[in-house]
Amino acid sequence: MARTRRPSEQTTAVVLALAEAPATWRYGYELCRQLALKAGSMYTILMRLSDRGLVETAWETDTPPGRPARHLYRLTGPGIALATEMAQAAITTSKPAVAELRARWEGA
């Protein structure tokens, strides 16, 4: 039996932020600034989500000369399904920030 654990508030925020525009690739630092999350927390969450197949990663192309290619993230199909569940759960928890993200995702 697979072990399930309720995702943390921070993980929920990251998933819903990515779900705002599921087809769009996002940068890690951009997510940190949007969600006011520290890099240590953000990358730990992204690594876990990637390990579980909920987030896919890629390296950008068309990199300006003199700087390295940046890592990109977006939700996979199962990740989008998880975002739906989280959005439903957020209705009952009344967390303003998460609820706002849910509203933005639903409106997208």
Binding site: T24, W25, R26, Y27, G28, Y29, C32, K38, A39, G40, S41, Y43, T44, L46, M47, R48, D51, T57, A58, W59, E60, T61, D62, R67, P68, A69, R70, H71, L72
Partner: protein
């Protein structure tokens, strides 16, 4: 920055040599006028300083130069991500690339410190291997404490220290998801050699219980640390030590040659009292030539270093074991100490002390630097490892 690192390394070495040097110069271990004793100590230490300088230069030509072009937050993150498991290297590159987008000193420090935290403590898929390993290590240490304490109390500290260090380093390797036993043959060989050393110690102490005087707490801990260190080096070696198969196996051959020559020499030195001469002048050329040959063939200074390291590992273990067993044969045949045929009250204890100094200290401290000098002489190619390009899973234009 290169100069700072060089001075730090040489200063650290000086601190390591200064205390034992002062002790041996003042306690009568070295005979003759003070000036002569200082010169002898300096000659003993010189290869280590020169080898350290060569290693710093090799490091600088590799990753050091790249570090010097970074600011402090980037350097901190570069060092931290170096500790990430191999399965997480893509994330290491990701965090470093992202730092280039962060502006402002405070923001860069904040990002670098937080990302370093994620690098040092990345998420683990399953904690079960770590928990299982920790439990096994704890049980082994307790069992060792109880069993050895009953069977052979004089060896209790040595056995518990060995088990605890070996267990701790195994746990660290599992936690870092480092590949364990990349070379089963090498690991088996070193494992057998370590077992042989431990068996020889047990056998000697059973035959000569008074020899336990040699295993006073500090020496017992030191021997346990060295043996467990050699074992862990073979079980979970750094990637740099496994880069060249030729270097590795020629290093093992160097170790066997050292052991064989030592065994042959004991047949002669029993009559010539020249054990000290062999230990002073015998091992050095073996390491020098072995590392020189490999560095020349591979065209790589680093390959020569690998040969020297593996030679010191295998050679120390073999020769330590031979020393203990030959000491017993000498005593039984009425001869004196293995090193100089002297006769002292507690012969076996003195032999153990000599073995610890000449094999577990002298061989690594003298022969390893000599090997590095040999590698430097023929490995003119000082190129460090090329920096790895960021892995490209897919190439996507995010626009």
């Amino acid at each position: 920055m290169k100069r700072l690192v060089t001075w730090l390394v040489l200063g650290g070495l000086l601190a390591c040599f200064a205390v034992p040097g002062y002790t041996s110069i003042t306690n009568g271990s070295l005979t003759g006028p003070v000036r002569e004793r200082v010169i002898i100590w300096l000659l003993f230490a010189a290869p280590s300083f020169f080898a350290a300088w060569l290693l710093v230069n090799a490091w600088w030509n590799g990753s050091g130069q790249r570090l010097s072009t970074m600011d402090s937050p980037a350097r901190l993150l570069a060092v931290a991500v170096g500790a990430m498991p191999e399965t997480r290297r893509e994330w290491a590159a990701a965090m470093q690339a992202e730092l280039t987008q962060v502006r402002g000193r405070w923001a860069r420090w904040s990002f670098a410190v937080d990302a370093a935290r994620a690098a040092l403590f990345p998420p683990r898929g399953s904690r079960l291997p770590i928990i299982a390993t920790a439990a096994t290590v704890a049980m082994s240490v307790v069992a060792t404490f109880m069993y050895v304490g009953r069977a052979m109390p004089t060896l209790q500290l040595f056995a518990v220290t060995f088990m605890a260090m070996a267990g701790f380093m195994t746990l660290l390797a599992v936690a870092r998801q480092r590949r364990i036993v990349p070379s089963p043959a090498l690991a088996a060989m070193v494992g057998i050699a370590v077992t042989g050393c431990i068996a020889a110690i047990v056998y000697v102490l059973q035959k000569y219980p008074d020899a336990s005087e040699a295993l006073q707490p500090s020496r017992a801990v030191f021997v346990a640390l060295m043996l467990s260190g050699f074992l862990l080096l073979a079980l979970s070696p750094p990637k740099a030590m496994m880069a060249s198969s030729r270097a590795r196996w020629i290093g093992v051959a160097v170790g066997f040659v050292l052991g064989a020559l030592f065994l042959l020499s004991t047949g002669f030195t029993q009559y010539t009292n020249d054990g000290t001469m062999f230990m002073l002048f015998g091992p050095g050329p073996i390491f020098f030539l072995g590392a020189l040959f490999v560095a020349a063939v591979d065209g790589s200074f680093r390959s020569g270093i690998q040969t020297a390291v593996w030679g010191a590992t295998v050679g120390s273990l073999l020769t330590f074991c031979i020393w203990l067993l030959e000491s017993m044969r000498w005593i039984q045949s009425g001869a004196g100490l293995l090193i100089d045929n002297d006769r002292v009250p507690n012969m076996m204890a003195a032999n153990i002390q000599d073995a610890v100094f000449w094999i577990l200290i002298w061989v690594p401290v003298w022969c390893l630097p000599i090997g590095i000098l040999g590698a430097a002489l023929s490995g003119w190619n000082y190129q460090g490892r090329a920096s790895e390009p960021a892995p490209q899973n897919q190439t996507i234009d995010p626009a």
